[in-house]
Symmetry: C2
Subunit: 402 residues, 2 copies
Amino acid sequence: MRVLVLGGDGFCGWPTSLYLSDRGHDITIIDNLSRRKIDVELEVDSLTPIRPISERIAVWRQVSGRDVGFISLDLATEYDRLVAVLEDIRPEAIVHFAEQRAAPYSMRSTHTKRYTVDNNVRATHNLLTALVQTGLDVSLVHLGTMGVYGYGWSGSAPIPEGYLTVKVPTPDGELEREILHPANPGSVYHMTKTLDQLMFAFYAKNDGLRITDLHQGIVWGTQTDQTSRDERLINRFDYDGDYGTVLNRFLMQAAIGHPLTVHGTGGQTRAFIHIRDTARCVEIAVTNPPEDDKVRVLNQMTETHRLLDLAKMVADAMGAEIAYLPNPRVEAEENELIVRNDQFLALGLNPTTLSEGLLEEGRDVAARYRHRADPTKIIARSVWRAGMETADDLMTEVPDQP
Amino acid sequence: MRVLVLGGDGFCGWPTSLYLSDRGHDITIIDNLSRRKIDVELEVDSLTPIRPISERIAVWRQVSGRDVGFISLDLATEYDRLVAVLEDIRPEAIVHFAEQRAAPYSMRSTHTKRYTVDNNVRATHNLLTALVQTGLDVSLVHLGTMGVYGYGWSGSAPIPEGYLTVKVPTPDGELEREILHPANPGSVYHMTKTLDQLMFAFYAKNDGLRITDLHQGIVWGTQTDQTSRDERLINRFDYDGDYGTVLNRFLMQAAIGHPLTVHGTGGQTRAFIHIRDTARCVEIAVTNPPEDDKVRVLNQMTETHRLLDLAKMVADAMGAEIAYLPNPRVEAEENELIVRNDQFLALGLNPTTLSEGLLEEGRDVAARYRHRADPTKIIARSVWRAGMETADDLMTEVPDQP
């Protein structure tokens, strides 16, 4: 299929683009390189030495013989160019990763709150209006988040895939209605994904757009079968307090001898998925578009874990300490979490679950590039409310031996 | 109270500003005059001869002895100035009317869809972040719409005020949960108000902002006790296919001898409120802020009517014809509508309902300014989907006698 990957230079976008290319799809990446520019702003770098996008694409051509296109374009501000690109390429599917995706960054300052909303809402809405304007017969696959559901709202009831059937009281009794699962976002970033949902619902209903919304868990892992073919194809590895995701941060911290940073009690339970399964799920979604104008919601996760259990597992396996730090977020200290992911399983996903082998791969990546780490970027300093306490640096230089 | 009225030059904002001023509040209007500029874009004018905002304010000072401030400021794009104004004025309450408010205009073109989302989302979000940044102890009152609920979703069950208590299935039985009423917007404009709701919920929860969201019905009427004190204080009267509201359009059409334009069967039932009650409700909301961080939702409407019944009433009273035109909207042909408005009634609202006398006032306003009408602007031409049918002009010149 001809597939446009919006945000195809990012942590999920890049390995997904290569996976789709490897599977025979004709890929064009659109990206404004905003993620790399935020690295500059935060004075931090991917732990892994990622190469410029044009070099990445040239190397992929060398190792695979396959061409991937690249267009530098800002979805939020270059609407007319977006329309021209759509009319030129006439994609059969579009994968939309092109949003600011870090909850801590979205809460970092007034500027980042406003940037996250302006960028994410406009990127999504421009895309939707451009699809209506061009009238292309295209299936849109969007990366959402498990965070739209919030945590703890439904107690021990499993979280369904997007929709919930409820009973509504009426004067005469009750009505049964299927509703979009109530939104309970935990950050400005997560909030933008709940806004996306309502825009998708409207444009599906009014204009018949065919949309799949992937409610993804926390991604861990670094490499896929494609990114590991050449060091110059390596994927991002974020370890800083804003963009690093929890399990990858634990692995990196263990690799440099930094205590594992648990916020609050560690009783938060979250959903996870390995980066390899992200790529696989996206291909499944792209090749199985919804048949009608109801937005299809798939929970893109494979397992749930309590954060403290993950920390203990990594600590035991790699001999690290655990540091209990103040929680910079406004969130429940503990929650249960059971998630339905029946649709991806039925569509053929064979989940990659947490295993010693994959953890070792993460530790090896972290150990290999430990000289690139700035340990003063590890502590999470973006707070959800002004005045909330954060920790001091636990380490200022990476020791020769952890 | 010191009250900022955002969008205080508009159809609801102007009479509300004068009403609040008359009631002794200290009012500053913020407006970017976008509504007047859209008149220029659409080549149409208010049927009533509205004066420039500085003249309006000078006349109000003459007739009332009261000062109303005015600041020309674009909420969506002038964030730093907004913060400076908030810190300078230190309002106790803010009334937020500052959004593009016409459903047909929001569906008119790709440009107006994008403008409506960009303007409305950024105006609201900038305001919320500015309130967090400044830490002001202020109550925010926002003009929302009944349209967030959609029509027909709950059959004959009454529409509650913002929240709905539902039963959620669990493996062991059922949970009872209060949820924000599911969103079912009928246009891009209405969609932006459903996005506003989620932003309000997040900022109330995360930052403790005190917010009241007014889900308003369709406004009719023109004058209030304040705007009628001097012709130069007169309120807007929109009759065109994009900005005119249904009952005012019928009155104007009858006054110039134009057939009453009913879209589809006229079986659509909608909620209504007179402009005088808009102003009263806003004062009630301003002086009764919510006490906690749950967004307070009030249904700001006083009665419901089937559109065809309204057309027949106006036709009978004024001797007009009814023209059944193609419906340019994607909506149910017919719906029931029962709405709870218990909270405003309990807070002392004495509803102004539809009566012969008030209809005559509307007809008189329309008749007085009929020479200002351009009948080629009456037919609704903004369609919800490309290719939908619209009517030709039914009249091209206003006859001397209707």
